[in-house]
């Protein structure tokens, strides 16, 4: 069997320097935005007392959900013993940690009092889903960190399976927790649904794998390393299954809601006359984020076409952001019913659809989180031997056998 040779990435090519510069630029923008929001207060953003969580939360939740999903590849290798995925497992764990760090940073820096991080760590209300999530995120860093260590250090390699299994179980609980942030909200019509938890789990599979594919394809292309069709096709077929599964969950969620008369208002709003949210759902999530990627993945015309796979992955990411935008902001913008059978109006926007225009500050903060995540992956690739020099079809064949 041909021995796999892992190396870190040496030197800086011009494109990699350009990428580094771009990432640092976005990190700087994110930092400026944080300082501005912290200094002025949140009135400079598009968020208000009606749209409580805005664009930063869309970015943050996307990154956190994708973090869990980025671990797919490692889980398949360590837990389900798929040898072909083993050379890809280290990047998978690093990406998971990086995405979580980026997401949490956005979430933290959007707080009204980010200076009170120590309070968030020392004061726990154990009935709060948020408090559970703080424990889940911290634990994820610890467990995936150990898992990564078992993969990087041959002396502790024998613990890889057990650490990988622990990480696999933990990330399932983590995404269940993230989905439950919405699933447990009884107040709002768009939430309060148990299906939110498994839907977020399957969304994590899809978004995380899409991000992984983008990073993998870009890295191999930029470093002129060999990446065969066998490995890539396996991954893209898996992505297709996950994309279809997310569509299924979204369908079940809406059909269940449509059956209950009390939810007709919110369903009509999201699916038919919600303006931007309706467009984001049908055009963003369904068409561009699901159907087009499925065609790009499975149509024979695009077989072994790297550009098609790259496009499909990017569209899944775009669709993912759109779907979270609809869930988060669309869900909040729909008015709550105070007294059934009555139309309400007030100085506090009762009974009307709340409007929201994301500000540049929120976008900058969100992009800052994305940039930090990619920067961590970039730095890790320079520091550690994360990826094999070659993952050609020949190598893949020997791994399979």
């Amino acid at each position: 069997m041909k021995k796999l040779h892992y190396t870190s990435i040496h030197g800086y090519s011009k494109p990699s320097l350009a990428l580094l510069g771009l990432l640092l630029f976005f990190v700087l923008l994110g930092f400026i935005s944080f300082l501005q929001m912290e200094h002025e207060g949140h009135y400079i953003t598009g968020m208000n007392n009606q749209i409580i969580w805005g664009l930063p939360h869309v970015f943050a939740i996307f990154l956190i959900v994708a973090a869990s999903g980025a671990l797919n590849v490692a889980s398949i290798a360590s837990v389900f013993n798929q040898k072909m995925y083993k050379p890809l497992a280290k990047l998978s764990a690093v990406l998971a940690l990086a995405l979580l760090a980026g997401g949490l940073l956005v979430l933290l820096l959007d707080l009204g009092r980010p200076d009170r991080l120590i309070i968030a760590i020392t004061h726990y209300n154990f009935k709060s889903v948020f408090a559970w999530n703080i424990i889940l995120y911290t634990g994820f860093f610890g467990i995936v960190g150990i898992y990564l260590w078992t993969m990087l250090d041959w002396q502790v390699e024998k613990y890889t399976k057990i650490a990988g299994t622990a990480a696999f179980i933990w990330r399932l609980i983590l995404t269940t927790g993230t989905g439950s942030i919405f699933g447990f909200l009884v107040a709002r019509q768009a939430y309060d649904a148990a299906i939110m938890a498994p839907m977020f789990v399957i969304m994590s599979f899809s978004f995380g794998l899409a991000v992984y594919l983008v990073i993998l394809l870009t890295t191999y292309r930029m470093t002129d390393r060999e990446l065969g069709d066998i490995v890539v096709n396996r991954l893209k077929n898996l992505l297709g299954v996950f994309v279809a599964a997310v569509m299924y969950f979204s369908l079940v969620y809406h059909v269940t809601n449509l059956y209950a008369t009390e939810h007709h208002g919110i369903e009509r709003y999201i699916l038919v006359d919600g303006g931007i949210y309706t467009q984001m759902y049908w055009i963003g999530q369904m068409l561009l984020g699901s159907i087009v990627p499925l065609i790009l993945i499975y149509a024979p015309k695009f077989a072994n076409n790297r550009n098609a796979i790259m496009a499909a992955s990017l569209l899944v990411i775009l669709g993912g952001l759109a779907s979270l935008y609809v869930i988060l902001i669309g869900g909040q913008s729909f008015p709550m019913t105070l007294v059934p059978g009555y139309e309400a109006s007030s100085s506090f926007f009762d009974g009307v659809v709340a409007s929201y225009t994301p500000s540049k500050w929120e976008f900058m903060l969100g992009m800052g989180g994305v940039a930090i995540a990619i920067l961590i992956v970039f730095a890790s690739m320079k520091l550690f031997r994360l990826l094999p020099v070659s993952l050609s079809d020949e190598v893949a064949q020997t791994l399979k056998s």
Binding site: Q50, G112, I119, H123, N125, V129, L185, G341
Partner: protein, 254 residues
């Protein structure tokens, strides 16, 4: 054999010593008591008020008669804003509103009514459930508050509140009132005028200001309190009663 029986002379002097000791001891105790005790007692009396634990013997609440709430009247809102130092800053989308008047129109009959809306001071408040740090809390007497010192500004409570009763402070505040400390980046809502309640003034600014008598403040656990009598006679509706939060604010005429 030695005679241990004390002589009558010794007995007398011992007695005098005993009296003297008793006298001195008594004087010392009296002096101590006279100097220290008043301080202790006075301090205890002062401290008792501030330190006295709030008990669940009472449950403060409001009863709102929507039939008396006049169209176009905003007195309760103005009174609340004045009482707590709430001002217009960057407009209604981001300004804090602890109380608001809501206009309701029956979709089928067209019947219209008005009512004030504020924190409903639930027995099972969703805001308290979801708060990660425990900054949102409910006092034993039913008043739901935010501890501004441990609120991290995550706004999860605002997502969870079924009544949209909470506001986030979107900017730096100046000239705050001592009775209502507030802070940028934290969440706040109606305190049921807790500063007045604790001072023994059992009423709220909104209830006092309502010249139509549409808002009644009282102890829901006291059967003789006006609020309990009125509830017994005409009943009271809870907003979003299906959530079974057992609100401390009740409405009549809905």
């Amino acid at each position: 054999m030695q005679d241990n029986t004390p002589s009558p002379q010794m007995n007398d002097s011992n007695k005098i010593d005993q009296y003297r000791r008793r006298f001195l001891g008594g004087t010392a105790a009296a002096v101590t008591a006279a100097t220290v005790l008043p301080g202790l007692i006075l301090h205890t009396v002062e401290a008792r008020h501030a330190d006295e634990a709030v008990t669940s013997d009472r449950r403060w609440g409001l009863l709102i008669d929507t039939t008396k709430c006049a169209d176009g009247c905003n007195d309760c809102v103005t009174a609340c804003n004045t009482e707590h130092g709430l001002r217009e800053i960057h407009g209604p989308a981001t300004d804090a509103q602890w109380i608001r008047t809501v206009k309701l129109k029956n979709k089928s009959t067209g019947h219209q009514l008005n009512m004030p809306m504020m924190c409903q001071h639930c027995e099972h408040p969703p805001c308290v459930d979801v708060c990660p740090t425990g900054a949102s809390f409910k006092r034993a007497d039913g008043i739901v508050l935010v501890d501004k010192h441990i609120c991290i500004g995550c706004r999860y409570c605002m997502m969870a509140c079924p009544y949209k009763a909470r506001s986030f402070i979107h900017e730096t505040l100046t000239d705050q009132l001592p009775v209502a400390p507030r802070g940028k980046g934290t969440v706040e809502s109606c305190t049921l005028c807790v500063h007045k309640v604790d001072a023994g003034d059992h009423n709220t600014a909104c209830a006092v200001a309502c010249k139509h008598g549409a808002i009644v403040f009282g102890d829901l656990k006291d059967p003789n309190d006006k609020i309990s009598v009125m509830l017994r006679e005409k009943g009271g509706h809870q907003l979003r009663a299906e959530l079974a939060l057992n609100t401390g604010v009740r409405y009549q005429g809905l």
